[in-house]
C-alpha cells in the first residue's frame, strides 16, 4: 500500500503542505512589518524550487489535457481552436470503446474479488492465531515487492507449464494477485484499530460469527473496504506491464490499447483518452472520499 498510496498521494499532500507553509511564512512576514527577516532569499529559493518541481511534474499532464481539446491534428502550440472532435473520434473508435469496457469490467471484478479475499485474509491475520501466520502474511504482501515484469513473466511461464491457455479469467486472477496486497494492508490497518470488544459484545448478545461479521465488523470496516476497492480498481485500471504479459490475443485494456496505438502514430485521440482517464482516476477517489464524509455526517445525524 505504502508505495502506491504515497506515490499517488504525496504530490497533492506535499503541495498543500507547501502552500500552507508558504502562506504561513507570508502571514508571519506581514504580521511584523517592522521586523526585517535577515535572509529572505533562502525561503524564496525553496519556494521557487518547489514551484518548478510541481510545474515539471504537472505540465505534461496539463499539456495532454489542453491538446485533447485542440482542433488541429498536430500537437503544437498555440492551440488552433477548441473542439470536442477527438472525444467524438474516441467514442466512434470501436477498439477503444471495447478496451474501455474491458478495463471497467476487469477493474470492478478485480476490486470486488480482491476486497473479498483481502477482508477474509485480514480477519484471519488480525483476529486469529495459527501456525505459519507470519509466513502467510509475508506471502500476501510479497507481490508488492516483486517487480511487475518478473511477476508477469513468472505467471505466464507457470501457466505455460500447466498448459493452461490465456484467458480473461487468468488476466483477472493476475490483477487480483497484484492488487491484493494493497487491500490487505488497508483493511488490516483498520481492523487492528477496531477493538475486538465490539465483536465480543455482539456475540454476547446472541449473534453468531456470521451475524457478528455482517452487523458489526463489516460496517465498522467499511471505510477501509471502500479504500481497498478503490485501490484495487485504479491499480487494475492503470496496469500496463503485467497486463501485456497476461492478456490473451484480441483482449485489450485501455492502457494496452494506448500502448498499441502509440506504436503506429501519435493520434490526438490518445490525448482525449488520456484526459478521460485522468478525469476518471482523479474523480473516483474524490467522489468516494466525498461519499465517505457524507456517510459519516449522515451517521452522526
Amino acid at each position: 500500500m505504502t508505495t502506491t498510496t504515497q506515490s499517488r498521494a504525496t504530490p497533492v499532500a506535499s503541495e498543500a503542505a507547501e502552500r500552507a507553509a508558504a502562506a504561513g511564512g507570508g502571514v508571519a512576514t506581514r504580521r511584523r512589518p517592522g521586523v526585517r527577516i535577515p535572509r529572505p532569499s533562502g525561503w524564496s529559493l525553496i519556494r521557487l524550487a518547489s514551484i518548478l518541481v510541481y510545474v515539471f511534474m504537472f505540465a505534461p499532464i496539463a499539456v495532454v489535457v489542453l491538446l485533447s481539446f485542440n482542433s488541429s491534428r498536430f500537437g503544437t502550440f498555440p492551440l488552433e481552436g477548441f473542439s470536442f472532435r477527438w472525444f467524438e473520434a474516441l467514442w466512434a473508435n470501436d477498439a477503444i470503446v471495447s478496451a474501455f469496457q474491458t478495463s471497467l469490467v476487469l477493474g470492478f471484478l478485480t476490486a470486488i474479488i480482491s476486497t473479498s479475499i483481502g477482508i477474509a485474509a485480514s480477519l484471519a491475520m488480525v483476529r486469529y492465531d495459527f501456525p505459519g501466520k507470519g509466513l502467510i502474511n509475508t506471502a500476501l504482501i510479497t507481490p508488492i515487492l516483486v517487480p511487475e515484469v518478473v511477476l508477469g513473466v513468472a505467471l505466464l511461464l507457470f501457466l505455460r507449464w500447466l498448459s493452461i491457455p490465456k484467458s480473461f479469467l487468468l488476466l483477472l486472477m493476475g490483477h487480483v494477485l497484484i492488487t491484493l496486497p494493497f487491500v490487505v494492508l488497508v483493511v488490516q490497518a483498520r481492523l487492528t484499530a477496531i477493538k475486538p470488544v465490539y465483536e465480543e459484545a455482539a456475540k454476547s448478545l446472541g449473534a453468531n460469527a456470521w451475524e457478528t461479521f455482517f452487523r458489526v465488523t463489516l460496517p465498522l470496516l467499511m471505510p477501509a473496504v471502500f479504500a481497498g476497492m478503490l485501490f484495487a480498481f485504479t491499480i487494475s485500471f492503470d496496469d500496463v506491464t503485467a497486463t501485456l504479459f497476461w492478456k490473451s490475443g484480441g483482449t485489450e485494456t485501455v492502457p494496452t490499447q494506448i500502448f498499441a496505438m502509440l506504436r503506429n502514430s501519435i493520434s490526438p485521440e490518445i490525448n482525449a483518452l488520456g484526459t478521460v482517464m485522468i478525469v476518471l482516476t482523479v474523480s473516483l477517489p474524490l467522489i468516494a472520499g466525498g461519499l465517505a464524509r457524507w456517510f459519516a455526517r449522515g451517521g452522526r445525524g
Partner: protein, 374 residues
C-alpha cells in the same frame, strides 16, 4: 452447599493456563440466584479472566463451569444467554441507541412491537428514555454506560457480567452509577458477577466478595467478613488501612490470646494486647496481629462488647487531615501505628501524648506466614 437450582453460576476447580503461565487456578465458587458477587483484586489477579471464562470469551483449561445447572464449557458465547457490560461500554458506534439496545432482541424471536416495547422499558429502567434516536458518540460516558447496561438486560439474561463497568467514569459519576447499578440489579433480581479493583465499589455493592490474588481466591465472604475478619495478610492489606504488628503469644485462655508486640527500634516498652481468637496458638509462637486503622480509638474508649479493653499510650507524630476523618500516625511501644478517627471538637495534634483503646474483638491474629491459623 445450596440446591443446584438456586445456583446461577457454579465454578468447579476451574483453571486457565496461557502456556506455562497459570492465570487462574483452583477456582471453585457458587453464585446464588439473585446475588451480587464481586471478584476483587489487583490487576493481573485473574478476576477478568474468570469473568471472561464464565462469559465464554476465554476457553477453560480444566474444571467445569455450569450456568443454571447446565455445563457450558463447550457452549459458545452466543448461546449462553448472558448480559455482559464491558469496561469501555462497547456500544456499536454505527447504530442508534435504539438499535444498540435492540441488537440482542433480533436473536430472540420477538415481533417488532414487543421488541420496541422492551427497548423502551429497558431505557426507562436505566433512566434514559429519550435518547433512542441518538448515536453513542453523542452521549456522555455515564449515559453510554447506562445504555450498555440497558442493552445487556433487555435480553433477560440468566446472569449479568460486569467487567469494571465504572472504571472509565469520573469519581462523582462513579458513585451515582454504583447506586444505580445496585438498584437495577435488585429490581431485576438477576445474579450478577462484578469485576473490580476498587474496594469501595466491592464493599458497597456486593452480597459476596471474592478477593483474588495471583490467580487464586484469597477469601470469600460478605463485605463485613472480608473487611473485619481478613483471613490473610493480603486481604487485610488490600482492603482498607491496616496495621501489621509482629508479636509473640504469651498466654492462651478461653478464646483470649495475650500477646507481646515486638518492640521496634528505640528500646521502648513493648505493648501487651489481649485479642479474642478461636485459633489454637502455642505459647511463644510468633504471629502477626492485624488491626484496622479505624479500630484504634484515640482518647475516648469505644463501647465495650463484653471482652476486655486494651489501653496503651502513644505519641502523635503526624496528622493527615481528611475532612470527615483524620489519619494519625502514632508511635507506641516502638511501633508506628496508623489510626483513622472521626474528628470531634478537639482533634489530636502533632506531639500530643494520647491514650489508645482497642477492643479485644477488633483485631485478627494471623500466623507468621500471614494466614489464618487453623
Amino acid at each position: 452447599m445450596a440446591e443446584t437450582r438456586d445456583i446461577a453460576v457454579r465454578l468447579t476447580d476451574v483453571e486457565k493456563n496461557y502456556g506455562s503461565f497459570q492465570a487462574v487456578r483452583d477456582m471453585t465458587l457458587d453464585i446464588p440466584e439473585g446475588s451480587f458477587v464481586t471478584l476483587l483484586g489487583p490487576s493481573g489477579c485473574g478476576k477478568t479472566t474468570t469473568l471472561r471464562m464464565i462469559a465464554g470469551l476465554e476457553s477453560i483449561t480444566a474444571g467445569e463451569i455450569a450456568i443454571k445447572g447446565r455445563r457450558v464449557n463447550e457452549v459458545p458465547i452466543h448461546k449462553r444467554n448472558l448480559g455482559v457490560v464491558f469496561q469501555n461500554y462497547a456500544l456499536f458506534p454505527h447504530m442508534s441507541i435504539a438499535d444498540n439496545v435492540a441488537f440482542g432482541l433480533k436473536y430472540r424471536k420477538l415481533n417488532k412491537t414487543d421488541a420496541r416495547e422492551k427497548v423502551r422499558r429497558a431505557l426507562q429502567m436505566v433512566r434514559l428514555p429519550h435518547v433512542e434516536d441518538r448515536f453513542p458518540g453523542q452521549l456522555s460516558g455515564g449515559q453510554q454506560q447506562r445504555i450498555a447496561l440497558a442493552r445487556a438486560i433487555v435480553i433477560e439474561p440468566d446472569v449479568l457480567l460486569l467487567d469494571e463497568p465504572l472504571s472509565a467514569l469520573d469519581a462523582n459519576l462513579r458513585e451515582d452509577m454504583r447506586v444505580e447499578l445496585k438498584r437495577i440489579q435488585r429490581e431485576l433480581g438477576i445474579a450478577t458477577v462484578f469485576v473490580t479493583h476498587d474496594q469501595g465499589e466491592a464493599l458497597a455493592m456486593s452480597d459476596k466478595v471474592v478477593v483474588m490474588s495471583d490467580g487464586q481466591m484469597e477469601q470469600i465472604g460478605t463485605p463485613e467478613d472480608v473487611y473485619n475478619r481478613p483471613t490473610s495478610r493480603f486481604v487485610a492489606s488490600f482492603l482498607g488501612n491496616s496495621n501489621f504488628l509482629g508479636a509473640t503469644v504469651e498466654d492462651v485462655t478461653d478464646g483470649l490470646v495475650t500477646l507481646a508486640v515486638k518492640p521496634g527500634e528505640g528500646g521502648a516498652m513493648p505493648i501487651r494486647l489481649s485479642i479474642a481468637s478461636n485459633g489454637r496458638f502455642r505459647k511463644g509462637e510468633a504471629v502477626q496481629i492485624v488491626i484496622r486503622a479505624e479500630r484504634l480509638c484515640i482518647g475516648r474508649a469505644p463501647e465495650s462488647r463484653g471482652g476486655p479493653m486494651n489501653t496503651f499510650e502513644g505519641v502523635v507524630t503526624n496528622v493527615d487531615y481528611q475532612g470527615l476523618n483524620a489519619r494519625y500516625f502514632v508511635e507506641a511501644g516502638g511501633q508506628k501505628l496508623q489510626v483513622i478517627n472521626p474528628i470531634d471538637q478537639h482533634p489530636a495534634r502533632e506531639g500530643d501524648r494520647v491514650t489508645l483503646h482497642l477492643r479485644s474483638e477488633d483485631a485478627v491474629i494471623l500466623d507468621d506466614t500471614g494466614h489464618v491459623h487453623h
